[in-house]
C-alpha cells in the first residue's frame, strides 16, 4: 500500500553572524528540529525518521543527535545535498518504512570553523588546492564567472542584478543579513575579492539551521506541500567540462514528465546561490531565464515576467549556515507555499521550483538536484 508523503512542517532558527561562544551545532539543530516537529502538529515521540545535513556536528553523528533528543527511529540518513534526503524520505513514507520524518540542515559557523571545513573539504582539496594557497572556492568560481561572462557577452552589472534583487527580497525576510538597498554603482564599487568577484558576490557566513517534516498526506489536516517532481545528476561530467553545464536541463525535462506540467510555470524559484553566476546558469538551464532576457538583465534586472527568484534573499543576503545552505531555499519555498513568509509573502504562491547545487570536488560543483513543489 502506498501513502502519499507531504511536507507538513517547517522551521528556521534565527541566523546570526556572531554565535554565542559556548553554543554547539547539536543544540542549533535540535532547536530547528523541535520547532519543525511542533509546526507539523507532532510530538517528538511520534517522529520515527531523521535526516541530517551538517558538516560540524562532528564528532557526533546523526544517531548521537537522535539519542540526545530522545528520538526513537526506524529511518536515519545523513547527506549534504538535503534535497536528496527529502526525496528518500518521501519514498520511505510512501513505502511505509517510516511515518513522520524530520530533516534538518545547519551548522554553527565562525571563520575558524569555515577555514577548517573548506581546507579539509575533500582529499583533493587538501592535497591539490590548499598547497596552492587556495582555501575556499573563490578562484574556481571566478574562472567560471569569467567564462560565463565572455560566452554571453555580459558585463558585471548582470551579476550585480542578482545581488540587487536578493537584497530587496532579504529586506522582507526575518533572517535577512544584507538588507540595505543596493544600486548598480554601489555593487560595482564594492571591494574586489578576486579579479572577477566583488565582495557582494560571496556569501556571508552565518550560524543557523532549518528543518522540514514529512508526513503521510492522510495523517495531516491544514496546509501542506506536495512534491510532484524530482531528479538529480551526481558527477555527471567527471569534472572534465567547463563548469557551465550543471545538468539541470535534463532534470527540468524530467520534472515536466513526472508532474505532467511545465516546470517553469511556477510562482517562485529557489536556486542555490553560492555565487551569482550559478544563479544565472541554473535559471538558464531550467528554462526560466531566456538568452534575450539574460542579455538585457544588466539594465532591466529581475522582476516583470519572471517568477520570484530566491524570495528570502537567499544565501547571498541571508548568509550560508554551512551545509544548512542546501536546505535554506527549500525552507523558503515551503514557507511561501504555506503562507508563512510574513512581509515577504508572495500572494497566491502555489508552485515552486527548488534546486541544490554543489559539492565542489575540484573545479566546480559535481551535483545538481531539483524538486517541483505544489501547495495543497
Amino acid at each position: 500500500m502506498s501513502h502519499e508523503a507531504v511536507i507538513a512542517g517547517v522551521a528556521q532558527t534565527t541566523y546570526t553572524r556572531r554565535p554565542e561562544p559556548d553554543g554547539t551545532t547539536a543544540e542549533l539543530l535540535a532547536e530547528a528540529i523541535l520547532a519543525a516537529i511542533a509546526d507539523a502538529g507532532l510530538e517528538p515521540g511520534e517522529v520515527d525518521g531523521l535526516g541530517v545535513s551538517s558538516f560540524l556536528l562532528t564528532p557526533d553523528r546523526p544517531i548521537d543527535l537522535a539519542w540526545k533528543l530522545g528520538l526513537r527511529l526506524r529511518w536515519l540518513m545523513a547527506e549534504p545535498l538535503t534535497l536528496t534526503i527529502v526525496q528518500h524520505a518521501r519514498r520511505a513514507i510512501e513505502s511505509g518504512d517510516a511515518r513522520n520524518i524530520v530533516i534538518v540542515g545547519g551548522d554553527r559557523m565562525d571563520s575558524g570553523r569555515f577555514r577548517e571545513m573548506v581546507s579539509r573539504y575533500n582529499a583533493v582539496t587538501e592535497q591539490r588546492l590548499v598547497p596552492m594557497g587556495l582555501v575556499g572556492p573563490n578562484a574556481q568560481f571566478s574562472l567560471i564567472t569569467a567564462e560565463h561572462r565572455r560566452r554571453h557577452g555580459l558585463g558585471p552589472e548582470a551579476y550585480g542584478q542578482v545581488v540587487i534583487h536578493q537584497r530587496a527580497r532579504a529586506a522582507l525576510h526575518r533572517n535577512g543579513i544584507f538588507t540595505d538597498p543596493l544600486t548598480v554603482e554601489e555593487y560595482l564599487a564594492a571591494p574586489m575579492v578576486t579579479s572577477e568577484l566583488r565582495l557582494y558576490d560571496c556569501v556571508p557566513l552565518v550560524t543557523g539551521a532549518g528543518a522540514v517534516v514529512l508526513r503521510r498526506a492522510n495523517d495531516v489536516q491544514g496546509p501542506v506541500v506536495r512534491m510532484v517532481g524530482y531528479d538529480a545528476v551526481l558527477n555527471h561530467d567527471h569534472q572534465e567540462g567547463d563548469g557551465l553545464d550543471l545538468g539541470l536541463g535534463p532534470i527540468a525535462e524530467q520534472l515536466g514528465v513526472q508532474s505532467g506540467t511545465d516546470p517553469t510555470d511556477v510562482d517562485l524559484v529557489s536556486v542555490y546561490d553560492d555565487y551569482p553566476v550559478i544563479v544565472l546558469q541554473q535559471l538558464q538551464e531550467l528554462g526560466v531565464l531566456s538568452e534575450e532576457r539574460l542579455a538585457s538583465l544588466g539594465e532591466t534586472g529581475f522582476g516583470e515576467g519572471l517568477p520570484i527568484v530566491n524570495p528570502s534573499g537567499g544565501l547571498l543576503c541571508c548568509g550560508q549556515a554551512g551545509v544548512g545552505g542546501e536546505l535554506h531555499g527549500f525552507v523558503d519555498a515551503v514557507e511561501q507555499l504555506t503562507g508563512k513568509s510574513g512581509a515577504g509573502q508572495i500572494q497566491g504562491a502555489h508552485r515552486a521550483l527548488v534546486t541544490n547545487y554543489g559539492m565542489v570536488l575540484y573545479r566546480y560543483g559535481a551535483c545538481a538536484v531539483a524538486m517541483l513543489l505544489e501547495a495543497a
Binding site: M132, L143, T194
Partner: protein, 104 residues
C-alpha cells in the same frame, strides 16, 4: 631546486588521461592506470585572488586554468605573470601545481 614535473594518469585500456588522480578511468571504467608526465599546456584563463578567507593578506594568488596538450584541464599557481594563450609547463612543488612559461 630540482623541478619535478606534475604527473597525470593515463588509462592503460582506452588511453584517456586524467588529473587529479582517480581510482578508475572516467571514460571506460578500467582501474589499470599509469602515471605519466603532464607535458606542456596552454593557459585558458587567469584569475587573481586578493583575499584569503582567513583575512590574512599575503598578496594576491595568481591562479591559472591550464589545458594540457594531453587533455586534462587543471588549476595551477602561476609562478610568473601569465595570461590566456601562454604556453606553460606544470611542475609539482610539494603537491602544489605551479605553471611556468615555456619559451618556444
Amino acid at each position: 631546486m630540482i623541478e619535478i614535473e606534475l604527473a597525470i594518469q593515463q588509462c592503460e585500456q582506452c588511453g584517456h588521461r586524467m588529473f587529479p588522480e582517480r581510482l578508475a578511468c572516467s571514460r571506460c571504467g578500467s582501474s589499470a592506470l599509469l602515471s605519466q608526465p603532464a607535458g606542456p599546456g596552454t593557459v585558458c584563463d587567469r584569475v587573481d585572488v586578493y583575499r584569503a578567507p582567513s583575512g590574512a593578506d599575503d598578496g594576491p594568488t595568481h591562479v591559472v586554468l591550464v589545458e594540457l596538450d594531453a587533455g586534462p584541464r587543471l588549476l595551477a599557481r602561476a609562478a610568473v605573470d601569465l595570461v590566456g594563450g601562454d604556453r606553460v609547463s606544470v611542475s609539482d612543488e610539494a603537491l602544489a601545481a605551479v605553471a611556468m612559461r615555456l619559451w618556444s
